[in-house]
């Protein structure tokens, strides 16, 4: 089957990125040396980064694909929609009020859902959600939530929190192992649910009424998928902060290569976005040592221009 081969290719790409991520860093270590006892600490650290990169990339790409499908808008993405900032604010508030680490994903999820609802309602005029309206309200809600986030970080009595700039710039350095495990589980469940509804997503991306005529319970599927995408985004933001544009660049590239069938777009985007984030992170660590370029900066530098090109193309023709 053709799609199996494509997925295998992306899996290989992911393997290559993971190997690259393990071997490269401030110090370059070959695979064999890496496996020796003296380097086990480095291996462990880098392994965590690779795992987090995979999970964050896969999750953000799947969340992006979900938002694009149900909003029928190829520019929708957790960061652009302000959902990431909502999740970030939630997570910072949880830390500010000294809630347990376990509650972080839940509070971040609440922030993500809240942002999504606000953006959707702001963009909805006469029952219609326009591209421009959606992007504008997403950017504005994102900006408001980000500034609130910074404010709470700055007034926090917790000294450790003051150093946290990574909420806004993103970082793949897992700061709590248990949290990482919880996030891996939540994101995997989210991706599973999204895959379960991939054919529904195909139909909904043709139009809500169209999907209804194909026997799909559109309001229910939409709600479930909104929750799933917000949950994925919320969990990822808890561990690695706000990483923008991944959910935009990767699905767009995948659609250009593999077409629009979500049964292929979802897994292919997840695999290649994982590879992409691992690669971008390794680049950020090695490009100008000892300074580590935050991963959010790298994805923004790549994603920003692509976003503008897409937006301009969309304004020229609605198709």
């Amino acid at each position: 089957m053709k799609s199996r081969k494509i997925l295998l290719l992306y899996l290989l790409l992911l393997g290559a990125a993971a190997t690259f991520g393990l071997c490269f860093g401030p110090v370059k270590i070959s695979i064999l040396e890496l496996l020796s006892d003296e380097n086990s600490a480095i291996l462990h650290l880098r392994m965590m980064r690779v795992i987090l990169g995979l999970v964050a990339g896969a999750g953000l790409a799947v969340a992006g694909v979900i938002f694009q499908g149900i909003l029928r808008n190829a520019l929708a993405e957790p960061y652009v929609l302000g959902v990431s900032s909502g999740a970030g604010l939630g997570a910072v508030l949880a830390l500010f009020f000294n809630l347990s680490v376990k509650s972080l994903p839940i509070v971040a999820f609440a922030g993500a859902i809240l942002a999504m609802i606000i953006v959707y309602q702001l963009a909805k005029i006469n029952g219609q959600v326009s591209t421009q309206g959606l992007i504008l309200s997403g950017v504005i809600v994102g900006a408001v939530f980000s500034s609130l986030l910074l404010f709470f970080v700055s007034i926090s009595p917790n000294e450790a929190m003051h150093g946290i700039t990574w909420w806004l710039l993103g970082s793949l350095e897992a700061w709590d192992i248990k949290l990482l495990v919880a996030v891996v589980i939540l994101v995997s469940i989210g991706i599973g649910v999204a895959t379960f509804f991939s054919r529904d997503l195909n139909a909904i991306s043709l139009g809500e009424e169209e999907a209804g005529h194909l026997g799909i319970n559109v309001p229910l599927v939409k709600k479930i998928l909104f929750v799933v995408a917000s949950l994925i985004t919320g969990s990822i933001v808890c561990v690695c902060g706000i990483i923008g544009f991944v959910g935009l660049i990767i699905p767009h590239a995948i659609r250009a290569v593999c077409g629009s069938d979500h049964r292929l777009v979802l897994p292919a985007s997840a695999l290649s976005a994982g590879a992409f984030l691992i690669f971008a992170d390794t680049l950020g660590r090695t490009i100008m040592p000892p300074v580590e370029v935050p991963i959010g900066v790298i994805t923004a530098l790549i994603g920003g221009p692509i976003f503008i090109i897409l937006l301009r193309r969309k304004q020229r023709s609605p198709l």
Binding site: F196, R199, N202, L206, L214, G215, S260, L319
Partner: protein, 263 residues
Amino acid sequence: MTDIIKVNNITSGYQNRPVLKGIDFSIQEGEFFGIIGPNGSGKSTLLKTLSRSLKPYQGNVHYQQKDIHAISAQELAREFAFVAQDTVFNFSFTVWEIVLMGRIPYIGRMRPETPHDLEMAKESMRTTDTLALANRFIGALSSGERQMVLIAKALSQQPKVLFLDEPTSHLDIGHQVKILNLIKELNQKHNITVVVVLHDLNLASEYCDRLLLLNEGRVYKIGKAEEILTFQNIEEVYKTLVIVNRNPITKNPHILLVRKEKT
């Protein structure tokens, strides 16, 4: 002839704005049923209410003696198919992918299409003469071709009833006739009941077994073309002066409009 769809006294519309008031009629099995009326008279709203996209505030729509809102969406999608007006495609699906989506009501989640599904999709592309377009992207087609593909998708649902909302708008006269001939063929050979909203009264006259003339959200009259398309009815509903002739070959009513300064 038995009634396949029965509409019982429906009031329907959108959030606090009733468009249709007290509509009561039925459609017979195997019929080519046309809905006509001026802009804003509620044609599309009626079609949406009949096909379950819109729930009426009052009254109900029965399909084979069952309230359509008591039938599951998936079950109904195997009986009803809908060809919408001006479908906008935001994603570049291929024609084959679109037509195959018509099989969604028959396929379980997480299961691939069966050979039967593939065959049904191919069959409907053969019927609509779109097989050659299979690998093209839907956005790259002409509006005539796109309409054919949407009909192919509807056909692969194997519907008993086919709803079409102005299937010939924006099409040239050649494509208008091509599409309606195809729908007529489906109606007669495949025994699919057709419910179609048409703007063009002459096309409605030529193709429909019966017409429902809507006026301001109410049924003005239902009947055969010669009973509905009289100059009195058209003047009253469309507020415009026309001459009604006969098509010399088919003997169906033919409407001619008259320019103002000539009256």
